[in-house]
């Protein structure tokens, strides 16, 4: 039986939904 303590996971920072949308819009504008 293994009782190794799990390694702590690294929190991935996420933009909010609105920020994600803004980034997506600016990417679409940049693309030809």
């Amino acid at each position: 039986t293994s009782h190794r303590p799990p390694r702590p996971r690294v929190l991935l920072k996420a933009p909010t939904l609105a920020e994600m949308e803004e980034m997506n819009i600016s990417e679409e504008e940049e693309s030809p």
Partner: protein
């Protein structure tokens, strides 16, 4: 000495590997260009499970940029589909089911013990190893709320034109038309040529269709319940508001027909096992209005009965209906001013809302309770029709 090497067939561990260059193709084939019909006969919410298996591989190889990129592209892809299909109930329900399922997967396999209580040991092996995606769960939860609101808006837009004629105007009880108030013509806008006329059956058929789409797509039962609670609230509000503004429907016979219609809807809820959803309770003001139309309105005892029974109507609404009430024929008397005064006096201590009409656009807050799946990732089969042959099973 002869040595035989037994090569064990590599087990599928429930992860999907793809190269970074294939991410746009993955999102296109699995999200933006996907037609829900292409998945008929497969496990409900398959796109969500496939996406989780891709995320899990990126987590397994400790590639945070790949996780970020896939989640962001997926979320933007879902938003794009919803924008394109903003009047399509089936498509919106499909993405609500899948977004919620992806959110459930990110919880169920997060490694957080609170979400793992129902996991099998095999499922516990499929948890994320390196990353905590709590913040992405919040984004998916916000997205689910947006999709739910779009779903309700679409369903309401389909149901709303039916409500007045189906609930208040259509006569399905035999012989009731003979006891309609005299002197009022049927509304030309909704009844004369029958073009805009709907029976209660039309509402029931529409709700059957909503129900089967959501069930087939594996939408969580708690969300389906909330959808119908919201739709029943709207039916109640639109029908009651109309009743409060139209003399021709404030009659004993409409009260009778209305009560019958509501009981048909209650029966439908029971038949679909939705009677615990709170949907029937949202119809209470309309039930009380139907009772008010049917009760006697003459003596102080009648006033007492009205005040005791019509607890979901405000004083203003009760008085308005009594004022609009239209006798069936010359033998039935109008409601007297004195009777209305008696009612007002009895109800003066009530702390009623000020507005006469209900806000038919009111939305109940939605909840997405955690709903883990019993499915194990390594049992999922990806159909060829999805064109995802570039995904490698790991």
């Amino acid at each position: 000495r002869q040595v035989t090497v037994q090569r064990k067939e590599k087990d599928f561990q429930g992860m999907l590997e793809y190269s970074k260059e294939d991410e746009p193709l993955l999102v296109r084939n699995l999200v933006t260009d996907l037609k829900p019909q292409a998945l008929s006969g497969t496990v409900p919410c398959l796109p969500a499970y496939i996406l989780y298996m891709c995320i899990r591989h990126a987590d397994y190889v400790n590639d945070d940029l790949k996780v970020h990129s896939l989640l962001t592209s997926t979320i933007n892809g879902i938003k794009k589909v919803l924008k394109k299909h903003n009047d399509d109930f089936e498509m919106t329900s499909f993405w609500l089911s899948n977004t919620c399922r992806l959110l459930h997967c990110l919880k169920q396999y997060s490694g957080d013990e609170g979400f793992m209580t129902q996991n099998t040991p095999k499922q516990n092996e499929h948890c994320l190893k390196n990353f905590d995606l709590t913040e992405y769960r919040q984004v998916l939860s916000d997205l689910s709320i947006q999709i739910y609101q779009q779903l309700i808006k679409i369903a309401e837009g389909m149901l709303q034109p039916m409500i007045v004629s189906a609930m208040l105007e259509n006569e399905s009880i035999q012989g009731l038309s003979g006891v309609k108030p005299t002197g009022y013509r049927k509304r030309s806008s909704s009844m004369v040529d029958g073009d805009n006329s709907y029976s209660l059956d039309a509402i029931v058929r529409q709700m059957n269709s909503f129900h089967s789409v959501m069930c087939d797509q594996g939408l969580d039962p708690e969300i389906i319940q909330q959808v119908f609670k919201q739709l029943f609230y709207m039916i109640n509000a639109v029908a009651l508001n109309n009743l409060l503004l139209r003399k021709d429907v404030c009659s004993w016979s409409t009260g009778m027909q209305l009560r019958y219609n509501i009981s048909q809807l209650e029966e439908w809820l029971r038949g679909k096992n939705l009677h615990q959803s709170g949907a029937a309770e949202t119809m209470e003001p309309l039930i009380h209005a139907a009772q008010l139309l049917q009760l006697k309105k003459k003596t102080p005892e009648d006033a007492e009965a009205i005040c005791t029974l019509c607890t979901s109507l405000s004083t203003q609404q009760i008085v308005k209906i009594l004022n609009l009430y239209t006798p069936l024929n010359e033998f039935e008397e109008r409601v007297t001013v004195a009777f209305i005064r008696t009612i007002q006096a009895q109800l003066q201590d009530r702390n009623d809302p000020q507005q006469l009409l209900l806000d038919f656009k009111h939305m109940f807050p939605v909840l997405f309770p955690f709903n883990p799946s019993s499915l194990t990732m390594d049992s999922i089969h990806i159909p060829a029709a999805l064109n995802l042959e570039f995904l490698n099973e790991v």
